[in-house]
């Protein structure tokens, strides 16, 4: 299925991060005027692949061929100047600049007249680019005044502005562009993509299979950093693609289902009509000691906001949360911590660990009270207790004094989990606890989650994949648009099917 003359090609590309092989000998190619879909679960390597193409990551092995020549882009700007424009999942619009200034940021030379920028010419040119995305707004207004979807369109307009300004080919990377758009805007975007095909090649990344099939000519499926399947959209089916995405048959041992508890202790957590404006509303459930509750839902379903709410990071606007029958306040993180919540954030590097501190210091960060007397740290107690956790969780570190940043992702995550066990949290809120860690370390984390449940910790789990949620949970709540759309029991042997969940998610 090799295209006659691919515009862009990756040959045997491998990219490693400490402890993780993010891309493993990836081969893909994109033909001229072709829309190529790229799908895979979270952590399959989609984003790494895109960032490699856009010059954010360097390629460890293999090569990138653009317009028939090996290229190595130094930065997204370098890639952009060569004709490879990326529409970022996290927007790269600078909100304090105007729409026109954003579109032509770094390329103002075109509008220079006697050394100053001719704003009128720039705004007029921006108007032309905005028309391509059917966005009717004043190019002279600040981007901060646009809503999220409109900013996304500006971002796309910025990428499109390459067209006509370059001699060579234009390739546009759209990384999950639909996750924040309404259906109407998605239809508009797809219309634009079809128009664009005449002028450019497009790589479209999404985890929504129906969308990918709708808009792409050809689809690659990524799993664990490797391309596992390639097909034309006309030959593909959603179920077929899904099997390739998930890959293995559900392996019960993988999620330690033999250790799944069937009976639980006393009820510990009650959530009653909990709401946060614009995020989720009237969420209610009970959770018992040792029970694992999985939350499923797409981005924007409200489950991330709910997890952060239990961590004390997003104050609730209504309803109440009780631990052991007593109402708790969740306006600040330390209130949540002291009420018994241990929050493991999805952004491990920026929120989970303090990189400058040692392993032991990270472990006892929450439980400072217990490891000090009159404010003075009890080093011996700290050392022995941390060492025993290091042994128990098989954390690979030279010692408890090792700086946190020299551990691999999986081992860092074990330290984060042990922090709450050392503190004695009653409810662990795990927001993507296995994000960005390799398969082996994932299994260790699963083992640890089972162990926490055995010790009577109630667990709220936002899994990285549906498979993970189903495999680990005793019970699953599906959220859609901020409300519970379904609840599934998930006992061993009676686990719900992924498709059951998906149908309630979208």
């Amino acid at each position: 299925m090799t295209a006659v003359n691919p515009v862009l090609e990756l040959r045997n590309v491998t990219k490693e991060f400490p402890g993780v092989r993010a891309l493993d000998c990836v081969n893909i190619h994109v033909g001229r005027n072709e829309v190529v879909g790229l799908i895979g679960e979270n952590g399959a390597g989609k984003s790494t692949l895109v960032k490699t193409l856009a010059g954010i990551h360097r390629i460890d092995e293999g090569e990138l061929i653009f317009e028939g020549e090996p290229k190595s882009f130094r930065s997204p700007r370098d890639a952009f100047n060569h004709g490879l424009a990326m529409v970022f999942q996290e927007q790269s619009i600078i909100q304090t600049l105007t729409v026109a200034e954003n579109i032509f940021l770094g390329r103002e030379r075109e509008f220079l007249r006697f050394g100053v920028i001719d704003k009128r010419a720039m705004n007029a040119a921006a108007k032309v680019e905005l028309a391509k995305v059917h966005l009717d707004c004043d190019p002279a207004q600040k981007c901060a005044r646009l809503d999220f979807a409109a900013r996304q369109m500006v971002e796309i307009a910025k990428a499109l502005s390459l067209d006509g300004r370059l001699d060579g080919d234009v390739v546009i990377l759209l990384d999950e562009p639909t996750s924040v758009l309404e259906r109407r805007e998605i239809d508009l975007l797809f219309g634009i993509i079809r128009e664009l095909k005449a002028k450019a090649s497009i790589i479209f990344i999404s985890h929504r299979l129906d969308e990918v099939l709708e808009v792409s000519d050809r689809v690659y499926v990524l799993r664990d950093g490797a391309v596992v399947h390639e097909t034309t959209s006309s030959d593909a089916s959603i179920t077929g693609l899904h099997e390739h995405m998930v890959g293995r048959q559900l392996d019960h041992q993988y999620y330690r289902e033999n250790k799944q508890r069937a009976a639980f202790g006393n009820p510990v957590l009650s959530v009653r009509d909990l709401s946060i404006d614009d995020e989720f509303s009237n969420l209610s459930f009970e959770l018992a000691e040792g029970e694992i509750l999985g939350l499923a839902g797409v981005v924007g379903s409200g489950r991330e906001a709910f997890a952060r709410c239990l961590g004390g990071l997003l104050p609730p606007s209504g309803g109440e949360v009780l631990i052991d029958g007593k109402p708790v306040r969740l306006n600040r993180p330390h209130q949540a911590v002291n009420s018994g919540f241990g929050f493991v954030p999805s952004e491990r590097k920026s929120e989970g660990i303090v990189t400058g501190l040692s392993v032991a210091e990270n472990m006892t960060l929450a439980a400072g009270e217990r490891f000090s007397r009159l404010g003075f740290i009890r080093f011996e107690k700290e050392r022995t207790e941390c060492q025993s956790w290091i042994d128990r969780l098989q954390i690979r570190t030279p010692s408890s004094k090792t700086p946190m940043q020299s551990l691999s992702g999986g081992n860092q995550q074990k330290v984060v989990l042990s922090k709450w066990q050392i503190f004695g949290s009653k409810v662990a809120v795990l927001d993507h606890p296995t994000r960005g860690i390799d398969v082996g370390a994932k299994e260790d984390v699963y083992e640890l989650i089972r162990e926490m449940a055995d010790q009577g910790v109630a667990i709220v789990l936002l899994g990285d994949t549906l498979e993970e949620v189903i495999g680990l949970s005793n019970r699953i709540l599906v959220l859609r648009d901020g409300e519970v759309s379904a609840s599934f029991d998930a006992p061993v042997g009676g686990k719900p099917d992924q498709l059951d969940l998906i149908s309630k998610m979208v």
Binding site: G311, G312, L313, P333, H334, V337, N338, F343, P345, S350, E351, G352, I353, V354, T355, G356, L357, E361, L365, A366, G368, S372, G375, F376, I377, F379, K419, F423
Partner: protein, 316 residues
Amino acid sequence: MASINLRALAPIGVFFLLCFVIAVFSPNFLSVSNAIRILNASAIPVVLVMGATFVILMGSIDLSVEGIVALCAVVTASLVLNDTTGANLGLWAVPFAVLAGGLIGAVNGATHVYLKVPSFMVTLGIGFVCLGIATAALGGFPVRISDRGFRALTLGRSLGLPNGIWVAAASVFVALIIQERTRLGRYVYAIGTDEITARQSGVPVERTRVLVFVLAGLFSGLAGAMAAAQLGQGHALIASGRLFTTITAVVVGGTALSGGVGSVLNSVVGVLIVVVLTNGMVLMGVPPFVQQGVQGFLIIVAVSLALDRRQLEVVK
């Protein structure tokens, strides 16, 4: 790893290099009496950097040093035997000065934390308020101290060394204990490195921040009492130039302005570098106005040496 260790040792290297260069040009430099002179001149700056280091480790800044020192010097001078008030507390004036400093530090910290005003602005403002009070209270005149016993706090000698050096040494000891062995010290590093994670782990970030500003105020108050004892008076301008020396010493010592990296011991080395440089320039006969220029130049060189540029993506 090796490059990081080298970087940590850089201030000490700079210190010895500086001593060597000065010694070559000015043989008088390497004498016991000059060494004592240097240590004595370092005493007050060392006490000041003890507080400033914690504030900077936390990623904040304290610009109220001169104001607190001046006001506390005035408080001290007014409480011992003097020509303006009728008080005669002797050395008991010192705890009052220290407490006054702590109180101003508490105002700094509370305003910064609870009104969410950047520490830069709060401490700049409070510093001027203190200078204003010190000036207004005395109508611009100094309070002259006539209590010889009190002035022994810095002028007297114990075990052959001026007492000011012993006070500074004790301050370093206390600061080191706080830094290495208490929860407060650990929280300072945690907040300076990654406040978000610290907060999420239940670290009382607000309380820690206020406490650190109180601590800085306490040290500044002590420095105020020492300045009063050294000069035999208290007035509003007694501390001019102290702020620049303090911040320079902390930064030259290798504590990062962005927080999380550094130590009170680094700052001691930083003070020695600044003081030796000044001392050396005096010995070499460099004109005073040039000295200031060299100090300004030094702080920029030191910061550019201490930075690990590879890890910096955004510099503001």
